[in-house]
């Protein structure tokens, strides 16, 4: 991406952190794309964060290492940053700024789109209702994913979030093969091996040719991470709304994104909010997450699955906290379950899919889907209480019903939650497993399901 035209300035007033302050600027506009040229002739991209009184504050995506006050030139393009898009991007690999990274030439653009996107008019949104079968029991059964939803995975370092996301991407792709399906994968500051794992996983399932990869690896410039999710979503929106595809966007790891944002905010000497993150972190994250959805009268959809690692597994840390306030639920991975060797180690009690209620039920999946899911939550939650109690009073101090609840907890983790990395369960299997687990309890305990469903599905063990 090199700039044609534009106005060039060479008076650099200050360089600090990722910022370059250009002096004597007359015609710059807010948010404008800037090309910085080093004395060695190397070109880097940036954008205007603040302009006025003859000065422009430019954030340089590829870092300021090697820039000098004299000899550095800044060319103001007169337009905001755009991403060239076309159907040819499918199967390609780009870097974190949207430049080809696979040795192939830049795809011929049919359109240039502003990477910031525009807010969807809520009146023009189509409410998400189509169930996506992922083949993962705990998700299909209790945390249903719906087309156009934004459902993040909250994880911690070292846990199996990438394996789970890759399994979902593979299996959801297979189920949706009748329709146009695409995967957009954005690696934001992740290790090379993690990005490779994804790529290989998509390759093996044959989904790579319907995927677009954006890679900003751990050793790539940190400030570039501000752009990576945005170029990825710009491509996703094009595939969805112009080409009518159902796009699953995986953004990993959003914690690295927020850290890059904090770095810029600190360099600008802004008043910080919690833990040094800028006060506008919520608004900024929403400009990424809210780009999931469906539009009235258009075929495609953008479903987002951002992954973030919670620092010290702390769900109240600003990044998971503000994410949870924007996304439509969350899948939380639990350290305890992970230690027990359970895959996927989803802590269902802390997890939630807000749109599930609209994607399941009579005519969509099955009439009892929501109620049996509620019964599972209730049962598993009671099981946890009883487990805690039995630590104190011992199993002998438990009543008969309490012991049944403990059995429910064990069966839930062993038979329903646990599943193979390549095991693709049908919805019928998943629901049958739920009823099998619930049927450990006497009928009278099932107070979240209507009697007619108990009559139909309850099978005493």
């Amino acid at each position: 991406m090199t700039l044609q035209g534009g106005i060039e300035y060479s008076k650099i007033a200050e360089i600090k952190g990722p910022l370059v302050i250009v002096d004597g600027v007359e015609r710059a506009s807010y948010d404008e794309l800037v090309e910085i040229e080093t004395t060695a002739g190397e070109k880097r991209l940036g954008k205007v964060l603040e302009v006025g009184n003859g000065k422009a504050v430019v954030q340089v995506f590829e870092g300021t290492t090697g820039l000098s006050i004299s000899g550095t030139k800044a060319k103001f393009s007169g337009k905001t940053m755009t991403m060239p898009v076309s159907a040819e991007v499918l199967g390609r690999v780009f870097d974190g700024l949207g430049r080809p990274n696979d040795g192939l030439p830049e795809p011929i653009a049919s359109k240039f789109l502003d990477i910031n996107g525009e807010p969807m008019n809520p009146e023009q949104r189509e409410y998400p209702r189509d169930f996506i079968q992922t083949g993962v029991s705990v998700i299909d059964g209790m945390l249903t994913l719906v087309r156009g939803q934004k459902l993040p995975i909250f994880s911690g370092s070292g846990m199996s979030h990438n394996i789970l996301a890759a399994q979902i991407a593979r299996q959801a792709a297979v189920i949706g093969s009748g329709e146009e399906f695409a995967v957009v994968f954005a690696a934001i500051g992740v290790q090379f091996s993690e990005a490779q794992y994804f790529k290989r996983s998509l390759e093996e399932s044959g989904a790579l040719k319907r995927s677009v990869l954006f890679l900003n690896l751990a050793d790539d410039p940190a400030i570039e991470r501000i752009i990576t999710p945005r170029v990825a979503l710009t491509v996703a929106e094009y595939l969805a709304y112009d080409l009518g595809m159902h796009v699953l966007v995986i953004l990993t790891d959003m914690t690295n994104y927020a850290e890059a944002l904090r770095e810029i905010s600190a360099a600008r000497e802004e008043v910080p909010g919690r833990k040094g993150y800028p006060g506008y972190l919520y608004t900024d994250l929403s400009t990424i997450y809210e780009r999931a959805g469906r539009l009235l009268g258009r075929k495609g959809s953008v479903t987002q699955m951002p992954i973030l690692s919670m620092p010290a597994d702390d769900i109240t840390h600003p990044i998971p906290d503000l994410t949870g306030y924007i996304t439509e639920g969350q899948i939380v991975l639990g350290r305890d379950l992970f230690r027990k060797g359970i895959y996927p180690p989803v802590n269902v009690l802390m997890s939630l899919s807000r749109i599930m209620k609209d994607g399941v039920g009579e005519g969509r999946t099955r009439g009892d889907h929501m109620e049996i899911a509620n019964q599972m939550y209730d049962g598993y939650s009671r099981a946890q209480e009883v487990r805690a109690l039995s630590e104190i009073v011992g199993k002998a101090g438990l009543t008969g019903v309490d012991i049944k609840y403990m059995d429910v907890g064990d069966a839930f983790e062993k038979n329903f939650l646990s599943q193979g990395v390549d095991e693709n369960r049908s919805l019928e299997e998943t629901l049958a497993l739920e009823w099998k687990t619930a049927s450990i309890l006497p009928k009278g305990e099932l107070n979240k399901v209507k009697d007619k469903f108990i009559d139909q599905y309850y099978k005493a063990n």
């Binding site: 409410y127 008043v271 939550y377 009073v393 107070n447 009697d451």
Partner: protein, 592 residues
């Protein structure tokens, strides 16, 4: 003299312009060549500091800024109901006609359809004396809302010189002329009102009538009154939005204003899709016929988020002035506070706690004081109310953060959402130990007059069971439940039944989603009677195991879902069955 200046500095939603010495504080201005809408929030010399309500991407120094001479105002007249507005009262439907699926910039529209004709029926005649707030006539805005055309509150009064006769008019038509000391004033079916200025009223009263929401934990345990204030704080995933949607759906008010302030786009869409199909339980008409939505989703410009709260409350006051009970639901006031914080930071003001400006508390107080049950200005005499319910999204679920702590000072009903309850899928996850209502004694009279004078004692008895269970839980945690005597085991059992049978409510179940006051009372009575009977049974020698084994318990707990409001006699049957089973327990014990 309108101000005409030039942009000198741009950073996000904040713009500085010079040559603005004629600008006034809080005046609306047109910014840049795209004519973006902004508001003056500080004046220093001839430099005006402007918050811009649209994205400033591409804006550059040198572009013009032109004043409008008037503060940010809303248009008040027929056609507001059923609309979805952005934070500055632009109808989103009209915006989409002009700029497609995404929100464009610099688009101007009128808040209501100025050409739509309404059937106007005058209620005054030539020669009548009128004053501010008088009703000139009525139009039928929707089948639910009879819209009174008001003399604007800032009108100086006078004699009616002319009034339109019965007929169809658009809202631009001059329907009346008043005359005072030789000067004539023309009146239309609408007027404008600045959003930051509360609309005046004649007299304010104490709230004494409950706002029935159909949600048991609210109506039975922590009620809110019409004209009262309430706050619902909770971490994400605790069900704030669902609870607010429930209030907006089922509250027994005539008008509902729902403000989506910095929240999810799909949630506004959900309201838009769902409300036209839902029927108001009190009138049987689609809920959209009484609802106004104000939407500034999280990714829409941040400055308009600050305005959206004021836009919403001004619309609510307008419908109150016609003599309606209005509920305003704001989700979430934390996002509004964050918008304040963001602008304050760009103004480089000295921050108070967590970067929030020092005037956060006074702004919150001003907002919540716009609630109230009042006698409106003008004649005929009428009474209306605005009930304010604000969600708070405390960061990290921590109730000691500034927005929550300041909000608590200015509200009377507090519904504390609890993440632990939500994790165990106890919804609504309103924690009964931390929540409170300051209206309980005020509204008990209404329950006595309309349902039963047993309501308050029964409610208090049930609540005391919950309180005792809370203290017993500590002992159970240390020693296990078997260490307790039978009477206390009974308390645990009854508390569990109250939680499942009353406090929990499934918003997505057709029957359970709305619970009439009568059904609430009957369920309450059923469970308290169970408790009383069980205490007696224990005294007569039964054991807690006998009581737990009663088959009627399951029916009691499912009654909220299985027995609809129009078949409440089935609850009496459950009660009869319960009594029967108690007789059998004790009977067996006595004979052996």
């Amino acid at each position: 003299m309108v101000a005409k200046g030039k942009i000198v500095w741009v950073s996000g939603p904040a713009v500085k312009a010079d040559g603005m010495s004629d600008a006034k504080m809080y005046e609306t201005v047109s910014v840049g060549s795209l004519n973006l809408i902004g508001e003056v929030i500080r004046l220093t010399g001839d430099v005006a500091f402007i918050q811009v309500y649209e994205s400033t991407s591409g804006l550059r120094p040198g572009e013009p800024v032109i004043g409008t001479g008037s503060p940010l105002s809303v248009l008040l007249g027929p056609g507001i109901i059923g609309q979805i507005y952005d934070g500055i009262q632009r109808p989103l439907k009209e915006l989409s006609k002009k700029s497609g699926s995404f929100i464009g910039r610099g688009v101007t529209t009128t808040p209501v359809d100025m050409t739509k004709k309404y059937k106007f029926t005058p209620t005054v005649k030539v020669g009548d004396d009128v004053q501010a707030g008088n009703i000139l006539g009525t139009v039928e805005e929707t089948q639910l809302i009879k819209h009174s055309i008001l003399v604007p509150p800032d009108h100086h009064g006078g004699k009616i010189a002319s009034i339109a006769s019965d007929g169809q008019y658009d809202i631009e038509t001059e329907i009346a002329t008043t005359e005072k000391a030789g000067t004539k004033t023309q009146l239309k079916m609408y007027h404008r009102w600045p959003v930051r200025k509360p609309r005046p009223y004649k007299q304010r009263f104490d709230p004494t009538v409950p706002l029935i929401t159909g949600q048991r934990v609210i109506d039975t345990f922590f009620p809110i009154a019409k004209g009262g204030t309430g706050s619902i704080p909770g971490a994400f995933g605790t069900g704030k939005t669902v609870t607010l949607h429930q209030i907006a759906k089922w509250a027994d008010s005539q008008v509902v204003v729902y403000i989506g302030c910095g929240e999810r786009g799909n949630e506004m869409t959900e309201v838009l899709v769902e409300f036209p199909h839902l029927k108001d339980p009190h009138t049987g008409r689609p809920l959209m016929e009484r609802t106004v939505l104000v939407a500034n989703t999280s990714n829409m410009p941040v400055a308009a988020r600050e305005a959206s709260i004021y836009t919403g409350v001004t619309i609510a006051e307008y419908y109150r002035d016609m003599g309606n009970h209005v509920v305003l639901v704001a989700d979430s006031t934390s996002r509004w506070a964050e918008a304040l914080r963001e602008m304050s930071g760009r103004l480089e003001e000295m921050p108070a706690e967590e970067g929030y400006p020092s005037y956060l508390a006074s702004r919150l107080a001003e907002f919540y004081e716009r609630a109230g049950r009042v006698r409106a200005l003008g004649s005929p005499e009428r009474e209306g109310s605005v009930t304010l319910v604000g969600a708070v999204s405390p960061s990290g679920g921590d109730f000691t953060e500034p927005v929550t702590t300041h909000t608590i000072r200015f509200i009377k009903t507090f519904w504390a959402l609890d993440a632990r309850l939500a994790y165990s899928r106890h919804y609504p996850s309103i924690n009964w130990m931390n929540s409170y209502s300051g209206y309980l004694s005020d509204i008990a009279k209404w329950w006595s007059a309309n349902i039963s004078d047993e309501w308050l004692p029964l409610r208090n008895e049930a609540y005391s069971v919950l309180q005792r269970e809370d203290t017993l839980k500590e002992i159970v945690r240390l020693l296990g439940p078997e260490a307790l005597p039978e009477e206390e085991k009974l308390i645990l059992e009854v508390a569990r039944m109250i939680k499942i049978g009353i406090l929990q409510q499934n918003s997505f179940d057709n029957v359970d989603t709305y619970c009439s006051p009568k059904k609430q009372f009957k369920l309450l009575k059923l469970l308290v009677n169970f408790y009383r009977n069980a205490q007696r049974a224990l005294k007569e020698g039964a054991t807690i195991t006998d009581i737990r084994a009663m088959s009627v318990i399951s029916s009691m707990l499912k009654a909220r879902m299985e027995i609809p409001d129009d078949q409440l006699d089935k609850l009496d049957q459950v009660e009869a069955l319960m009594n029967e089973q108690f007789k059998n327990i004790v009977g067996v014990k006595v004979t052996t």
